[in-house]
């Protein structure tokens, strides 16, 4: 069997007196550095009546700060030779810059300035509401399968507002957002003690630590909100929802299952990650082989952990999702039956040793590839540190996956029970009313 090398990523930690956690990861393979800031607030924490607010606020963090006029953030990062972005997840919001190493101090300055004193104005808020609405038109309203399944599946599987609502937000609620809302949100959630700063790439640790202190030490200490629990009971029956979409040409299915709490042990969660690979990674995986090739029921099928397909990217509760695209002449129930048969078979027999070895090798290789992109590695380090207090996962995961036994994967398969899952059925709607689907009544029986 192929020997899988162990990944090496150097990690150092600091905590500033204002509570900001700092992870430094030097790597001199290219003259580039990346900086990530992860704030411990995502769209699950946004208030009722303000759907989409966490993401809207992420946009506002680019609109200037005390030392940086509007547009200056973009210009300074890019004229230093770098790029930037941010993204909003269920449990956190991240920001990054990747720049040539000569711009290390400048990038730290830019992040510190907006952590200390962002400039929130009514004019910028209105402008970014318009931009976010265009983003939603682009990715959801004007597009077939828009928001499938990350927006459309959660309201079928979950009952509570934090877990079930649309993280992109309703237009009316985005439009209702005020400068006052922004100030309150920033003061509560964007405290330095509620964030992790990650610096990785081509720098000397001592010098970088000194620069981090220079720029972040005087971000005032503020109280850190108590971490909320978003726990809710498992569904007590299968929940089905049929969605008619005038834009889609082929039916699609999304199955949602609850994952175990990663805080109870990474192994318990990762068994499902291995299970997803056994089910759908490559032509020889169980669901591909059976549903795509042998039975020819579906065009494409995929299984993954996490709302956006990244494992360990959220706290509890988290979701395992199987998505399917199939021709109109195949009944959705046939797809469900074949899927359930394969899962049941796996629960009974577990994957074979060769199957597990292949998954271990491919999984490790995928992680190496991700880590080879400095910005991906930086964002993974920050997210793992923030959510799980364990930046080391970025190197430990392959060994954890490699140690997974057949029985653990079989047990995970046994837990994918049809009587506690969500099934979202998307079907083409004939007729050309351009309106999107009404998701105000989740859980409606198909």
């Amino acid at each position: 069997m192929t020997r899988i090398p162990s990944p090496t990523v150097e990690l150092h930690r600091e905590t500033l007196s204002n509570g900001l956690r700092v992870v430094l990861s030097p790597d001199h393979s290219a003259p580039v550095i990346a900086i990530g800031v992860h704030y411990d607030v995502g769209f699950r924490s946004e208030p009722q009546g303000r759907t989409g607010f966490a993401h809207l606020f992420e946009h506002l963090m680019f609109q200037g700060s005390e030392s940086l006029e509007k547009l200056a953030h973009f210009r300074h990062v890019q004229s230093s030779g770098g790029t930037f972005n941010g993204s909003t997840h269920p449990d956190y919001t991240n920001y990054f810059e990747i720049v040539p190493s000569a711009a290390l101090e400048r990038a730290l300055f830019i992040e510190a300035d907006r952590m200390r004193a962002p400039r929130i104005t009514a004019e910028n808020l209105r402008n970014q509401v318009d931009v976010v609405k265009e983003e939603i038109r682009l990715n959801v309203l004007n597009r077939p399968y828009g928001g499938f399944p990350w927006i459309t599946l959660p309201p079928v599987l979950y009952d509570t507002f934090p877990n079930a609502h649309n993280g992109y937000g309703d237009f009316s609620e985005l439009e209702a957002a005020t400068v006052e809302d922004c100030a309150a949100f920033f003061d509560v959630y964007y405290a330095p003690g509620n964030a992790v700063l990650t610096v990785s790439g081509d720098f000397q640790v001592d010098a970088a630590v000194e620069l981090v202190h220079r720029h972040f030490d005087d971000v005032p200490t503020r109280s850190v909100p108590v971490l909320p629990s978003f726990a809710e009971p498992l569904p007590d029956r299968e929940r089905r929802h049929r969605q008619l979409d005038p834009l889609v040409p082929l039916p699609a299915l999304a199955l949602g299952y609850r994952l175990p709490d990663p805080a109870a042990g990474f192994d318990g969660y990762l068994a499902y990650e291995v299970l997803c690979a056994v089910l759908s990674d490559g032509d020889s995986s169980r669901l591909e082989q059976r549903l795509v090739h042998t039975d020819a029921l579906v065009t494409d099928i995929g299984a993954r952990c996490g709302l956006f397909g990244a494992p360990l990217d959220a706290r509890d509760p988290d979701t395992l999702i199987i998505t399917v695209m199939h021709p109109s002449n195949v009944d959705a129930n046939r797809v469900l039956e074949a899927t359930d048969e394969e899962i049941t078979r796996l629960a009974a027999d577990g994957p074979g040793p060769d199957e597990l070895a292949r998954i271990t090798a491919r999984w490790a290789a995928t992680l190496f590839r991700e880590n080879d992109r400095l910005v991906s590695r930086t964002m993974a380090i920050g997210a793992f540190e923030l959510l799980h207090g364990r930046a080391e996962l970025v190197t430990e995961l392959p060994a954890m996956v490699a140690s997974m036994g057949s029985e653990q994967v079989a047990n995970a398969a046994a837990a994918l029970r049809s009587d506690s899952r969500a099934v979202l059925i998307v079907e083409p709607a004939n007729g050309s009313s351009g309106s999107m689907l009404d998701l105000a009544t989740p859980g409606q029986e198909a």
């Binding site: 192929t2 030779g81 004007n142 597009r143 032509d283 070895a357 400095l374």
Partner: protein, 457 residues
Amino acid sequence: MLHRSAEQIGRTELGPRPLPPLGPPRPSSAPAAVDTVLDSGLRVIAVRRSAVPMVELRLEIPFGGTHPTHPARAELLAMTLLRGTPRRDRFAIDKVLAAVGGDLAAGVDPEHLSVSGSALASGLEVVLDVLGDALVSASYATADVVRERDRLVERLTVNRSQPRVIAREALQRRRYGDHPFAREWPEADDVAAVTPAALRALHRRSVVPGGAVLVLVGDIVPASAVEAVASILAGWQSDHPATELAALPELTGADLQLVHRDSAVQSQLRLSAQAVPRNHERYPALQVANLVFGGYFSSRWVENIREDKGYTYSAHCGFEYTRYGATLVAEADTASEVTAAALLETRYELGRIAVTPPDETEVDNARHYAIGSLTIATSSQRGLTGHLATLAILGLDLDWLLTHPGRLQGVTTGQVAEAAAEFFAPSRFTGVVVGDAKRLADPLAALGGVELPPLPS
């Protein structure tokens, strides 16, 4: 809960602070590399980049065709090339690749058949073996072809329902009419008619090494990697070279064409003009001019239609390179109610950059971005592989990549102004607007320069 006001949050006692200067630049070091042409005519570029114990692979074979049904055969060939040989069926291929952490996937466009892959570096020979086996003796078994035919028809249906694909096909027709370059996706009827025998014939004629390039980047010793390629792909030979796509006509300016899409809530603006390719002496100046216009976030166009007006989420103008030339393509998606206004601003910015040239600060900012972003983009194995493959198609190499920062440094503000004036004149552009014609026709007619469709009922 009590909190500060926005004004209080945005101010500190110390007040605004000065931006720290940049530190001394650290140049990238030139990696060990071999660039050679094998007896078969296959060019092999192998580069050592050892940050992770992986190897990336990219094969580009010129794959032009003139027959209207070529795209259907080409697409199906790409879908089935790696799906079975007399030695291994599709499941065995997947298993042997997975065992070395490997993946191989083929794709096709009007110019090239491409195979991309990666594996643990220790598995390079396994990946080459799978690839070589397919290049020499892909089976195109009837069952596989029939199955992939159905899947392709289904995927095409989904694809053609996507606004960006609809806009792309409209733009290609507007720019190139019936030229084979405009056929990026096959027609479903043509796909249904493709036979395994037709794929085998296309393979014999076109999956050939002469004129193709294979790029390998990773934790490898370049000379040994080239030897491995020469030995493992030794059986891949042909008595004729690969088929280049016929040269493209130069783009000329024309009215935009409004293309109706029923019930669209957002429109696609797609404007395009002839440019010069990377190996042209004026390219660096045009690259900088394009950045200032709309090639990055801090550009005039993005700052206007996104950050000032809120008309779009993303606007971008970039180069599209082909074997013989390059074009500029400007893209923005914008709500129906502001589409005409966004087009007006777009034309204004095109005209403005042509007659109000970028100043020294704009040029320097764009220049630094071009240099830095190239360093960043080529700092990963995958990024470097993609860049080298694209350059190789133009006959360029690693040396071009390493010397390009110097060319960008040498560009003057005057040269950028000249390039901006010549290439961005609004009259040089053609293109399409895809959206709900019932809502767009009147305001676009008022603006002028837009060819309207017959109004849908």
